[in-house]
């Protein structure tokens, strides 16, 4: 199996030699963050990782930096041994449409459906539509993991700080 350092090195090299140089960061010794500048880079870069036989898609994390930023951030984590290569993609908060990875990585489907309903990002080409986790009667355009959404507190309920 490929050692952790080698996986990080290949990931860094891929990013630096990309058509337009992609910035990388190494927040921890076993992690490499690749900052994608455009959604168009997502599928080719995932294919490049696969061609280089680095990692498998372990998870997709959605981040909301807050409504004032006007952005959302998607993190695609690929693991190889102890190495975690994360593709970071910033997308606009409203009307973001990004390509699906499920055509090349079938397991991405469940993660993308989760991000779609929790954060309100549309994945172009995603076969399965509709809710995966949220109830059928969940209101439209309401994305619970965004920072500007708070769960309604039923009357008489105790909160976490009680």
């Amino acid at each position: 199996m490929m050692p952790t350092e080698k996986a990080i090195e290949i990931g860094r090299e891929l990013a630096e030699r990309w058509t337009f140089h992609l910035e990388t960061r190494q927040p921890e010794p076993n992690r490499l963050d690749v900052l994608l500048t455009s959604p168009d880079d997502l599928v080719p870069f995932a294919v490049a990782l696969r061609v280089q036989r680095i990692g498998y898609l372990t998870a997709v994390t959605g981040l909301d930096p807050g409504p004032e930023s006007g952005m959302l951030e998607l993190l695609y984590h690929f693991c190889q041994g102890a190495a975690v290569i994360t593709l970071r993609l910033q997308v606009p908060r409203q009307g973001a449409v990004i390509p699906t990875l499920s055509m090349i990585i079938p397991s991405a489907e469940s993660s993308e459906r989760e991000i779609a309903e929790m954060f309100g990002v549309t994945f172009d080409g995603l076969r399965a539509a509709g809710h995966l986790y949220l109830p059928d009667e969940w209101p439209d355009a309401t994305y619970p993991l965004r920072k500007d959404w708070s769960p309604p507190v039923p009357a008489g309920a105790t909160t976490a700080e009680d």
Partner: protein, 398 residues
């Protein structure tokens, strides 16, 4: 059943409540006669919004929240979370604490695998095996209760270490339980690989090739039964696994039988590791100091749950509350693989194939029942319990 097209295709809805599948999920299975031609899954019947809830609770309270993601592998969730928070805070739990985390994690793996063995045998109509394996599993539940005070949510972890130490009496109780279980496990391995009727339900059924397992992102014993050598305990050792390494258990057949064999062989590996660990426990403290506020930063914590790789992403904004905690449980990716796997199989094989990945469903909890020395019993309210725990923790009365 409803007709979906002009041909002979029908869609069979299974779940969320169904006698053949004791977990809250919903499958729509399209069949042509008895043969499955398509399957889709709908989840969320046990969705509790834990990731959102974590953003409103402080780091300490979240430890107990994340322990409740799963009622079977509760300890491994708390371990993944605690290891991540400690890394963000720049704290390292003492070696003895890390070893006890591994000890409880392996005990949990034994109880989880035995539980699965029973469920899977039940789905195959082999209820004798189900009852025997669950009877034996009680020995591990008793050990866990003796060690931590709880059967399900052990709360063995605290941020910066563990809550409970291991004394000689507990060590003897664990070793005694392991001796009994080791003999039983040999018998189970014999049964699942030789019983002709059982093999008709498992051999060559639900076969996933190595390539399929890799492409579909299968993890844990499901992947290892298809020859994919993924095990976080070895690939990215956490807690004390670098000091107490496990042996990788891999089978290549990729069918249901291989998934039984992998899990039962992992039991032997857990028995070996626990015995070695009890003989070589490092001396010293079991917890370190932990700050209330955690410095800004992001980290990733990966651990090997009984069902496969469990992934935590943690982001701190420098306060006493996390900015974001993302959890990816092993079942979600294994479930995706299974939905693609059932196509072409008999409808009657679907419950067995689903059970083969060991899907994780919520366990029921227990009420707190105290037995006094004079034989009377009474129940505690939540508030009484909270006060009692604070008194024990801080040695003070509130």
């Amino acid at each position: 059943m409803e007709e979906t097209t002009g041909t002979d295709l029908f869609t069979v809805p299974i779940g969320p409540q169904h006698p053949a599948l004791k977990e809250p999920s919903h499958f729509r299975i399209t069949v042509d006669g008895e043969i499955v031609t398509d399957a889709t899954v709908r989840l969320g019947y046990a969705h509790r919004g834990i990731e959102k809830a974590a953003e409103a609770r402080n780091w300490v309270r979240n430890l107990y929240l994340f322990e409740r993601v799963c009622g079977i592998c509760s300890h491994i969730h708390a371990t993944a979370y605690a290891l991540g928070v400690e890394r963000l805070a720049g704290v390292e739990a003492p070696p003895r604490a890390q070893a006890i985390r591994v000890l409880v994690a392996e005990l949990e793996r034994i109880h989880s695998h035995l539980l699965w063995l029973g469920v899977a045998a039940h789905e195959a109509g082999f209820d004798t095996l189900f009852m025997y394996s669950w009877r034996d599993r009680e020995a591990i539940m008793d050990v866990l209760e003796g060690l931590t005070g709880n059967r399900v949510n052990y709360s063995a972890n605290v941020l910066g270490g563990v809550k409970c130490d291991v004394d000689d009496a507990q060590r003897d109780a664990i070793l005694k339980a392991l001796d009994m279980l080791e003999g039983r496990s040999h018998h189970y391995l014999d049964v699942v690989t030789t019983d002709a009727l059982f093999l008709q339900r498992t051999r060559g059924i639900g076969t996933m090739t190595r390539n399929q397992a890799e492409v579909m992102g299968a993890v844990g014993p499901t992947a290892r039964a298809s020859g994919v050598p993924r095990d976080v305990r070895l690939d990215a050792p956490y807690a004390a696994y670098a000091r107490y390494p496990v042996m990788r258990v891999v089978e290549t057949a990729g069918d249901l039988e291989a998934r039984f064999v992998v899990r039962i062989r992992e039991l032997f590996e857990s028995y070996r590791l626990i015995r070695y660990l009890l003989d070589n426990l490092p001396a010293g403290e079991i917890r370190g100091r932990m700050p209330r506020r955690v410095p800004q930063g992001e980290t990733i914590s990966r651990v090997e749950a009984p069902r496969g790789e469990l992934f935590y992403f943690l982001k701190s904004n420098g306060t006493d509350t996390p900015e974001r905690v993302k959890v990816r449980t092993p079942t979600i990716y294994n479930l995706t693989s299974v939905v693609k796997l059932v196509v072409g199989h008999q409808l009657a094989d679907v419950p067995m194939i689903l059970a083969g990945i060991d899907p994780c469903f919520s366990c029921n909890d227990r009420t707190v029942r105290l037995e006094e020395t004079n034989g009377r019993t009474h129940h505690w309210t939540w508030d009484q319990l909270r006060r009692y725990s604070l008194e024990v923790e801080h040695g003070r009365s509130l």
